[in-house]
């Protein structure tokens, strides 16, 4: 059963009197509980793709369906984790996580329970009354992820969530995400420009090319992930596995081709 379905999606932005095709005829199915990563060079429209699923942009052509229903504006069935964390600075950790639950009309007692549960899941218990600026970047993003999980959405959309973290924190967060996905499996659409990150986290990796943004390849990581037992190992160990190295090299090659290939549409000078 497919949970997220992109059916012939194109997105054209007006730009300086002319038009700019950000995405051209992209079709993609993400099955229920699959973790799908999208990689591509900057300007390939990967963030636009996520925003279309989130309902923050409207496609110029095609339909986005989530759980079978056509997307028509943002909704709490599709939680977004932003690169800038997007925590409300004037709200405490507790209030930030409770925000989406309040919007859904979850009663107070149940709200408190969910806030505690997901803070604990993210290893952040005890920070309830802190303001975001009192936390490190990594901790802030944990809160943002807890906020997204707490509304128990059908799908999670993550837009380079670890892009603004330092390398060590990023690695820790990736391991954390693997752990959480195992405890609380969700359909995830994960945008990144990190090839290793994509291979390490995803069941499937989609490679996009730019000008216009289009799918060039889809790589199935799942069989190798399971065969080599990545989810039971530390990340540095996984990166030494032959299967990991092979996939990483393959995706790099695809990305290089995507960047070298002449544009399908002449780029405006």
């Amino acid at each position: 059963m497919s949970d997220i379905a992109l059916e012939g999606i194109s997105k054209i932005f007006p730009r300086r009197g002319s038009e700019f095709t950000a995405i051209s005829d992209v079709s993609l199915d993400i099955p229920d509980k699959q973790f799908l990563a999208i990689v591509g060079p900057s300007g390939c429209g990967k963030t636009t793709l996520l925003r279309l699923v989130a309902g923050l942009e409207v496609p110029s052509a095609g339909v986005v369906r989530v759980g079978g229903r056509a997307v028509n504006g943002p909704g709490s069935d599709r939680a977004v984790v932003f690169q800038q964390f997007a925590l409300f600075p004037w709200k405490t950790v507790r209030e930030n996580i409770a925000f989406g639950l309040k919007c859904k009309g979850v009663p107070r007692v149940k709200r408190e329970e969910l806030v505690s549960r997901y803070l604990e899941l993210m290893g952040m218990s005890g920070t309830e009354d802190n303001y975001p600026h009192q936390l490190s970047g990594g901790m802030q993003q944990r809160v943002a992820i807890a906020r997204s999980y707490a509304i128990e959405p059908q799908v999670l959309l993550m837009d380079e969530p670890f892009g603004s973290l330092d390398a060590q924190t990023r690695t820790l967060m990736q391991e954390e995400l693997i752990r959480i996905s195992r405890v609380n499996p969700r359909t995830v659409l994960f945008i990144t420009h990190g090839v290793e990150e994509a291979v390490y986290l995803a069941d499937r990796v989609v490679v996009l090319a730019r000008s216009p943004g289009r799918i060039t390849d889809i790589i199935n990581v799942r069989p190798i992930r399971e065969a080599e037992g990545w989810d039971r190992r530390a990340s540095e160990e996984v990166m030494e596995m032959p299967g990991f190295g092979h996939l990483r090299a393959r995706i790099w090659r695809l990305l290089r081709q995507a960047m070298d290939a002449p544009s399908a549409i002449r780029s405006p000078d």
């Binding site: 923050l56 977004v80 932003f82 997007a86 919007c103 509304i151």
Partner: protein, 266 residues
């Protein structure tokens, strides 16, 4: 010791001393000028006469009420007009920052309106709402409305777009986005606008009272003029200035408290 005096920032106590010194010199020159007999007391009453007139009015009714009574009448009108301006201006400003359609509809009308001096509304205020309470309240409203709306509008535009998007993807309604994201996000700008609006409203009020009412500080001014009592006019002016100053100090205090409550630096 040898610091350049003109650029040095005075300390708190130095600042207080300088303020007091300035006021003393000003009052001294004024008193001296009045006492010298060079100018008639009908042109420039001495500060001592002004203070006496003010103190007398505080106990003996003038123009129908004591000075405090008039002041309370004025403050009541001001509070109503300002409250109305804040209550309409802030939500409308935030909404204009959120919906471009509303912005496009309201902005041209608003831009023309905000160059009309509050006093220009006096004839219509009197015509539509009478000279009792409604008319003056409307004049205050027209004075306070523009900064309330404008600051909320500009503040809302400065709120990070991703915060608004985060709220919407978490399922927030437009009303909730305005109350829980735009308002707190725009808060420093909003409270600055409220302070400006309060001051402008107070200024407009006195103007309105000169023309349309039979109580309040502005009315005392007019009555002082027709009684050929310049010291009463001056005392009323002084009361207006001091009250305005007190209002601003109170609002400054409220501003820092509100900002603190929402996690902004004071």
């Amino acid at each position: 010791m040898a610091r350049p005096l003109s650029h040095a920032r005075p300390s708190r106590s130095e600042h207080a001393l300088l303020s007091l010194g300035g006021a003393t010199v000003f009052l001294g020159v004024w008193q001296g000028l009045a006492a010298s007999g060079l100018v008639s007391k009908f042109v420039l009453p001495a500060p001592s006469e002004v203070v006496t007139a003010g103190l007398t009015m505080a106990v003996e009714p003038f123009a129908g009420d004591t000075l405090e009574g008039h002041m309370i009448a004025s403050l009541g009108r001001w509070a109503m007009g300002f409250g109305l301006a804040a209550g309409i201006g802030v939500p409308l400003g935030l909404a204009m920052g959120y919906w471009r359609l509303l912005d496009a509809m309201v902005s041209p009308i608003f831009e023309a309106y905000r160059y009309i001096a509050p006093l220009a509304w006096v004839p219509f205020a009197a015509l539509w709402f009478g000279t009792g309470i409604g008319g003056p309240v409307m004049v205050i409203f027209t004075g306070a409305f523009a900064p309330c709306l404008l600051n909320a509008y500009r503040g809302a535009q400065l709120v990070e777009p991703y915060l608004i998007e985060a709220a919407r993807t978490l399922g927030a309604s437009s009303l909730r986005v305005m109350a829980e994201v735009l308002l707190p996000g725009a808060l420093p700008s909003v409270v600055a606008g409220l302070r400006l609006g309060a001051g402008l409203g107070w200024q407009s009020l006195i103007g309105a009272e000169l023309i349309v009412v039979s109580s309040g500080i502005g009315y005392v001014l007019v009555q002082g003029q027709s009684n050929l009592a310049p010291e009463i006019v001056m005392a009323a002016m002084l009361a207006v200035g001091l009250t305005g100053l007190l209002l601003d100090v109170a609002l400054q205090f409220a501003e820092s408290r509100i900002k603190q409550r929402w996690g902004y630096p004071p």
